[in-house]
């Protein structure tokens, strides 16, 4: 399940909703990860753009991987501005066995950071500044750059 929200995530509501959805499905483990925007480098918060078509296909491919291990993935992410000390990202894995979920949450979040088509900006003096130095090149980058 993939959810996109405008602004900060309402963590308590989202986690309670997810728990209500999965608690009677006979999963033994529910492993959530909650990302919280940190106050650092004088930022007021973060802001995000999302390209939904590729995000959905990336997520669907992961859901198939999870299904092969009898697990299920849930993810929520923010669009737009997210102030410091609020959440922009929640991911969770549910599975019959805790070891599958614990391993998968790490692999899923790492791949999310590397490949999900989301662009992050620092909010500084009310302006969005692309977090280029913290961003990850996608496979095939540079394909259209003119030859030197």
């Amino acid at each position: 399940m993939l959810e996109l929200h405008d602004g900060s995530l309402h963590v308590n509501t989202i986690l309670a909703d997810w728990y209500a959805k999965i608690s009677d499905k006979n999963y033994g483990a529910f492993i959530p990860f909650v990302g919280i925007v940190r106050d650092e480098d004088d930022i007021e918060g973060l802001s995000f753009d999302i390209y939904e078509p590729i995000l959905k296909s990336w997520f669907d491919a992961w859901q198939e991987r999870a299904k092969a291990q009898n697990a299920y993935l849930l993810m929520a992410h923010s669009r737009g501005d997210v102030p410091n000390h609020t959440s922009s990202y929640i991911a969770a894995v549910v599975s019959p066995k805790r070891k599958v979920a614990l391993s998968m949450i790490n692999d899923f979040v790492e791949d999310f950071k590397a490949n999900a088509p989301i662009w992050k900006y620092d909010l500084i003096d009310g302006k969005r500044v692309y977090a280029k130095e913290r961003s990850h090149l996608l496979q095939g980058h540079g394909l259209l750059k003119a030859d030197a």
Partner: protein, 73 residues
Amino acid sequence: MAKVEFLGPIGRASIEVDIQNLSELKNYFKEDKELQEWLGICAVAINDTLVCEADVPVSSHDKISLLPPVCGG
């Protein structure tokens, strides 16, 4: 005409181009110095699938997306 969209921080409006493959698009952009800075770090998708070869054919109904480096979460 194929549609080209510039995603995330590139901040440009979409354009339409008459091209047969991505090599022609590469040639189309070669004099655009500001865009060249982006093209060196952008991945390319056709109809929302990432591609790694410039000789991929492009039809008039295709959507080409340029994706700068990403950082979710």
